[in-house]
């Protein structure tokens, strides 16, 4: 098991190098003079020259990448233009807010998705099973910004029961925080909830037709125990894979949701960076999201092995 984790960690290295190359060349994909992009058309030739010098733009491409990498390794992601502070600082400060939202969303999506999927799988073809299929389809075909706006209309403007924007002060208490989180969490979770529910349903259905479930039944074990102790544990690895993929999507999905609800996270900052052409911040943000994606996948792989004794013990 330990050797497996080490091996998986080593496999990450080439992926990360690939990501840094991709983000590095982002600057080169943007048409025109990079100094034009970074400083705006009105900048003086002197400041342009200073920037070229500090960015090493007059050096060869390989040297530039090496400089970029050595800066990266010391935690230097450059200077954000719109926040006028180091990118690493900006991201570090906002990451907590995004993680809070994404974490809440994946929690809601997993718990509700697994419960709904299992519930439907117990009676395949029944009214509740078909009902779930329709809800899943509905959630899956709805863009999150649209769902966010609808929720704002209903709960914020119409019923006036929930706050629709921003994040409260830490001093204002847990309840206020949860109230502010409610709508963005639901918006962010909806799509993943549907995917997880669908996967759970088919995984449980597949497992429940296995011979060992019949063995348990033939020994008089009740349906409730069969679902809890026989079907779910064996269905979990398949569901975990989906949850892992969804977590990756949640962080990138946060861009839209945070924008709709003005949630002060990495997503909102990225959105603002794109509109204000804050390239270093975009680069840093993408790099961080990619790293999170890779790390989550690693965790899912490890959990997958953990839930499969056959793989774990070999």
């Amino acid at each position: 098991m330990f050797a497996f984790i080490i091996r998986r960690l080593l496999q990450i290295i080439p992926v990360i190098i690939g990501v840094t190359i991709a983000t590095f060349f982002l600057t080169w994909l943007i048409p025109g003079d990079p100094t034009n992009v970074l400083l705006g058309p009105g900048a003086s030739e002197e400041s342009r020259e200073r920037l070229r010098d500090s960015l090493g733009l007059d050096q060869s491409l390989v040297t530039q990448y090496l400089i970029y990498m050595s800066n990266l390794l010391t935690g230097d992601l450059g200077q954000s233009i719109s926040f006028s502070s180091p990118v690493s600082e900006v991201l570090f400060r906002l990451m907590g807010n995004t993680a809070l939202l994404a974490g809440a969303a994946i929690f809601v999506a997993s718990v509700a998705g697994i419960a709904a999927g299992t519930w439907a799988a117990l009676r395949p073809g029944s009214f509740r099973d078909r009902g779930l299929t329709i809800v899943v389809l509905f959630l899956n075909s709805m863009p999150s910004f649209w769902l966010g706006l609808v929720l704002i209309l209903i709960f914020g403007l119409h019923l006036r029961v929930l706050p629709v924007s921003g994040m409260p002060d830490p001093q204002s208490g847990l309840l206020t925080l949860l109230a502010h989180m409610a709508l963005p969490t639901i918006t962010l979770a909806a799509w993943s909830l549907a995917a997880i529910a669908r996967m759970t349903r088919s995984a449980v259905l597949e497992v429940i037709n296995n011979d060992y479930v019949r063995t348990a039944r033939s020994r008089g074990v009740s349906e409730a125990r069969i679902v809890l102790f026989h079907a779910l544990p064996n269905a979990i690895p398949a569901v975990l894979t989906v949850i892992g993929i969804q977590m990756g999507f949640l962080f990138s999905g946060a861009v839209l949701t945070e924008t709709v609800f003005s949630w002060p996270g990495v997503g909102l900052a990225m959105f603002q960076a794109i509109s204000s052409r804050d390239i270093p911040l975009i680069q840093g943000g993408i790099l961080m999201l990619a790293l999170i994606f890779v790390l989550i996948n690693l965790i899912v792989d490890v959990l997958y092995v953990y839930f499969n004794p056959k793989i774990r013990l070999n």
Binding site: D211, T215, R219, G220, F307, P309, L313
Partner: protein
């Protein structure tokens, strides 16, 4: 004659512990049903061994799954009844039926690897119903499971409780499955092809083990197999199934020495004898095996039967008693294997002429 076969003699009528009467099983819609078991009847007396022999698609496994009400999704009992210790099983509540399973009638399935939960340790799987329903404490259940594993001949049983199924050999897994089946002291043991995937030496060990346990614990045994050799040594009676129906039922000696149904005969002569000279042609049954999707008119075996008459394709043959004692029944109006001296009147048991 051994003591076993005498038990089946009508001179000592024993109340059957398990009695299946006219059982039919269908899959699919009521309008277009796929009938996999048709009008199957058999009795098993306490301590007795019944062999049910049939090839793939004969409905033998579906029959016993229906007895336990463990049919797969879409399957249902479409006729007949099952009685266990006098109680009609279909009228029982879910709760009572769960009690019958395991405590009354236990099942040993064919593929031991897929029949054990891959992510649960052997000890936990074994102990689950003992703790949940029989009120055993965790340590008492553990002690009982160790004893059970010892009983089925697993070395270092306490150690094995901590193993996962994939860590055991095929023969060991089958032994674990047997230990699980007898863990709640059932009265009837149903073994569905318990040795199919095993090596021939392990196969012999497992069959002997099941039969030893039956004697020791006083259970009745229903042994389902495609291999007549497997049941020959331990069954008191044998029922031969073809295309969802029992075509012949008799004592073991009668089946092997004086079977009357052409299918039973053909099946026996298709088996290569261990002393079969090399190159002497085998006598396989011509044609294709049973396809449950096809509803053959009349006797289902008629397309492959070398003795079939025109009438065989028209109406379903009734069960006929070979002798007056009613122990030997078969379904063939042609009766090509009637012994010369037994020309006397043949009793018609039922006049069921059409397809059910």
């Amino acid at each position: 004659m051994t003591g076993k076969t005498q038990m089946t003699h009508p001179a000592q009528p024993v109340e059957p512990i398990l009695s299946v009467d006219g059982l039919s099983v269908s899959y699919g819609s009521a309008r277009q049903p796929l009938n996999v078991v048709k009008d199957v009847s058999f009795d098993v007396a306490p301590g007795q061994v019944l062999g049910i022999v049939g090839e793939s698609g004969s409905g033998k496994s579906q029959t016993v799954l229906a007895v336990l009400q463990l049919l797969a999704e879409g399957g249902r009992i479409s006729g007949g009844q099952v009685r266990f210790e006098g109680a009609e099983l279909q009228s029982l509540s879910q709760r009572r039926m769960r009690k019958v399973r395991g405590q009354g009638i236990a099942l040993i399935s064919q593929d031991a690897l897929s029949s054990l939960n891959p992510s649960m340790k052997i000890g936990r799987q074994m102990a689950e119903p003992l703790i949940a329903y029989d009120g055993l404490s965790a340590s008492a259940a553990r002690k009982r499971c160790t004893e059970l594993l010892e009983l089925v001949g697993i070395p270092a049983p306490a150690h094995r409780l901590e193993s996962y199924p994939h860590e055991l050999s095929g023969g060991m897994r089958q032994r674990v499955l047997i230990a699980m089946a007898i863990s709640r002291n059932p009265r009837v043991l149903i073994a569905d092809e318990p040795t199919t995937a095993l090596d021939v030496t392990i196969q012999a060990q497992i069959i002997n083990l099941i039969d030893d346990l039956r004697k020791e614990l006083g259970m009745a045994l229903v042994l389902i197999t495609h291999d007549l050799g497997v049941v020959a040594g331990i069954a008191d009676r044998i029922s031969v199934m073809y295309a969802g129906r029992i075509v012949e039922t008799a004592t073991t000696d009668q089946i092997f020495a004086a079977s009357r149904h052409p299918y039973t005969r053909a099946l026996l002569s298709s088996i290569p004898k261990p002393d079969q000279p090399r190159g002497e042609r085998l006598k396989p049954i011509p044609g294709l095996p049973v396809d449950p999707r096809e509803d053959v008119r009349g006797c289902a075996f008629n397309p492959r039967c070398t003795h079939a008459l025109a009438s065989c394709t028209e109406s379903l043959p009734a069960m006929i008693a070979a002798e007056d004692d009613g122990q030997h029944l078969f379904r063939c109006p042609v009766d090509p294997f009637r012994p010369a001296e037994a020309e006397g009147p043949r009793a018609r048991l039922q006049g069921n002429g059409g397809m059910s």
